[in-house]
């Protein structure tokens, strides 16, 4: 029984990370209709930035976290301005290709700067909490509460502020949003800023738990895609639900069946959803 609860906790922690990546992906997809393949590597880059600022340069941890989120957001702005905007009027497939290019650039930069080996980021608080025989490290609790906090803030931004409502309006109908005077370019920048900052938060929270290495971004990226497809592209609540379901499916099949089945199970679910309900569980009409 304790083991199952332990696995549930692990799944929740993983689900939180997928959730952060997936919500960023779905924001950008809603605005640009481009799957940002670089999102996983932005998550990886944020983890490396924490390693660089915190472990090598030794800044205060609060400064490191805030700086990482801000730098990652700025990076999103830069890729929007320099890469995605110039090609916004060209065929759609160029967007996919350029996202793959950005993915390769980030991975190449990280490998040159830090090498391909595993790095370790020490957690800030090393303690553990025991609760009816279930142990959870404080860092993992931080992931859960941090994600919850970020999601609440994101929800408030999207639902209550004029910027967020403009974003939602743009994802529903770009031309109509333009016609009522929404600054489409500014909003796209905002979406990219938020999306990469969210991936940055994911990287920050995960860096002390898992090892930091150049290929760490790819599995969460694909699972987040699976989660978004499961939940319906462009729907934030669907992305959150999908992330947790994927995390649970992954953790439990890995624990009780085998690692390879876990990989196949996640994409199997994704392909099944795409075949039988292409708009996803929470998605409305296409």
């Amino acid at each position: 029984m304790v083991e199952i609860f332990q696995q549930i906790l692990n799944a929740i922690v993983l689900g939180c990370v997928y959730c952060l990546i997936a919500s960023g992906l779905t924001l950008v997809y809603g605005i640009m209709h481009v799957p940002n393949f670089a999102q996983g590597n932005i998550y990886m880059g944020a983890a490396y930035l924490v390693f660089l600022l915190g472990c090598i340069l030794g800044f205060n941890i609060i400064v490191v976290y805030l700086a990482t989120v801000f730098i990652m957001g700025l990076f999103g702005l830069i890729i929007e301005r320099c890469c995605f905007r110039p090609i916004s009027n060209t065929p759609h497939v160029n967007g996919f290709v350029i996202a793959i290019g950005i993915l390769m650039v980030i991975e190449g930069l990280i490998v040159i700067l830090f090498g391909a080996d595993y790095k370790e980021v020490l957690p800030i608080w090393k303690g553990k909490v025991e609760f009816y025989g279930i142990t959870i490290s404080i860092q993992r609790l931080l992931v859960i509460f941090g994600t919850f906090f970020v999601m609440v803030v994101l929800h408030i931004i999207l639902k209550k502020t004029i910027w967020g409502m403009s974003l939602v309006a743009m994802s529903q109908n770009r031309e109509l949003a333009l016609s009522v005077g929404i600054n489409v370019n500014r909003m796209t920048e905002l979406a990219f800023f938020m999306s990469t900052a969210l991936a940055g938060v994911g990287g920050i929270l995960m860096a002390p738990i898992s090892f930091v290495f150049p290929a760490m971004g790819m599995p969460p990226l694909l699972i987040s895609f699976a989660a978004i497809i499961f939940g319906g592209f462009g729907s934030l609540s669907g992305a959150i639900l999908g992330s947790f379901i994927m995390a649970f499916a992954g953790v439990f099949s890995m624990q009780y069946i085998s690692a390879i089945v876990s990989d196949i199970a996640i994409f199997g679910v994704m392909i099944m959803v795409l075949l039988f309900k292409p708009t996803g569980i929470m998605g409305g009409k296409n």
Binding site: Y29, H33, V34, P35, F37, C82, C83, P86, I87, T90, P91, H92, V93, N94, F96, V97, I98, I100, G101, I102, L103, M104, V105, I106, E107, G108, L109, V111, I112, A116, M218, P219, L222, F225, A226, I229, F233, A259, I260, D263, I264, F267, M270, I271, L274, L275, P278
Partner: protein
């Protein structure tokens, strides 16, 4: 006018083949010959990606995996069952084709970003399977000592495939066949349907073209050719590791194709040639190759989305006039 153009094109074509045939005589140093062989293998992969992405407009990211399947099936057949190259090679290519069917049936129903994501997912699954079937594939360590084609000794021909020259000619032979297939595919009716699907799939459906079946044909042909390039790679290098099936191979092919010009036959030959020669000239170390290729991809998509064949050649022609 048309006839004159055709003959000029034929001239270029024959000239190109002659250069390729005489290349080993010019490149005395073995290392240059090695580069030329690797370029030809990558060009076959690019031609295969060009059929599904360039002609039919479906960006497949599973080509690294299909390349790996071809290579691994050949490696297993030739090392564990000690089959002859000429028997194992078609089997391995067809195995990649069957994998293409398995990938294509669910994923080709999807469009745009979904197809791209699902094929990338399939590539991850392929690598996971290869790593886990360690009895057959050697797991993470891979398979070593894969034999090339055995020498042909008959009364008429006496070909020893052990030398670098003959390996080059063997791969050149397959390269020319694949180029011919790709050329014919573009010219024939099916190829025109592929181009129509690339332009507007809904319109194709509305005039009664079975788009699913055509996309399937395109993907299967492309998979078989990708598997063939994997076979040639495995037999040339002599070893396969799981990284040879990773999506990075497919990404590299995508970069080369974009450099050359998406959808053009010549582009998928020029692209790998230029990129591999450039990375050798600048002595790009293996770690920096991802950065180099990624930068090339980003810059090209922004400034020259049609690649060298599409954007640079017309400029040169204009200057002449």
């Amino acid at each position: 006018m048309g006839k004159k153009y055709l003959s000029r094109q034929m001239g270029y074509f024959i000239g190109g083949i002659l250069i390729l045939i005489l290349l080993p005589k010019i490149l005395y140093i073995g290392f240059f010959l090695h580069i030329a062989t690797v370029i030809l293998i990558m060009a076959i992969l690019c031609l295969s990606l060009n059929i599904i992405f360039g002609y039919t407009g479906q960006l497949s990211l599973a080509h690294g995996g299909l390349f790996g399947i071809g290579g691994y099936v050949y490696a297993i057949l030739s090392t564990k069952l000690s089959l002859n190259f000429w028997i194992a090679c078609p089997i391995a290519a067809i195995a990649a084709g069957i994998a293409g069917v398995l990938i294509g049936v669910p994923s080709l129903r999807l469009r745009g970003p979904f197809f791209v994501i699902v094929t990338l997912g399939f590539n991850i699954i392929i690598v996971a399977i290869i790593k886990n079937l360690s009895k057959l594939t050697g797991g993470v360590n891979g398979l070593m000592g894969i034999p090339g084609p055995s020498s042909l000794f008959t009364s008429l021909i006496n070909i020893d495939f052990e030398t670098g020259f003959m390996k080059y000619y063997l791969i050149l032979f397959f390269f020319l066949i694949v180029t011919f297939i790709a050329y014919r595919t573009k010219k024939c009716l099916v190829g025109k349907c592929f181009a129509a699907i690339k332009e507007d799939e809904d319109l194709c459906k509305s005039v009664g073209i079975n788009t699913m079946s055509l996309k399937m044909q395109s993907f299967i042909l492309s998979s078989i050719l990708a598997g063939l390039s994997g076979v040639l790679y495995a037999s040339y290098i002599g070893m396969m590791i799981p990284e040879d099936a990773s999506f990075h191979i497919g990404f590299d092919a995508l970069v080369y194709l974009t450099v050359g010009g998406i959808g053009t036959l010549l582009g998928s030959i020029v692209g790998p040639t230029l990129m591999i020669i450039l990375s050798e000239i600048f002595q790009v170390v293996a770690e920096a190759r991802t950065l180099f290729n990624g930068l090339a991809l980003v810059l090209l998509i922004i400034f020259m989305p049609k690649g060298i064949i599409g954007n640079v050649l017309p400029l040169l022609k204009k200057k002449k006039v």
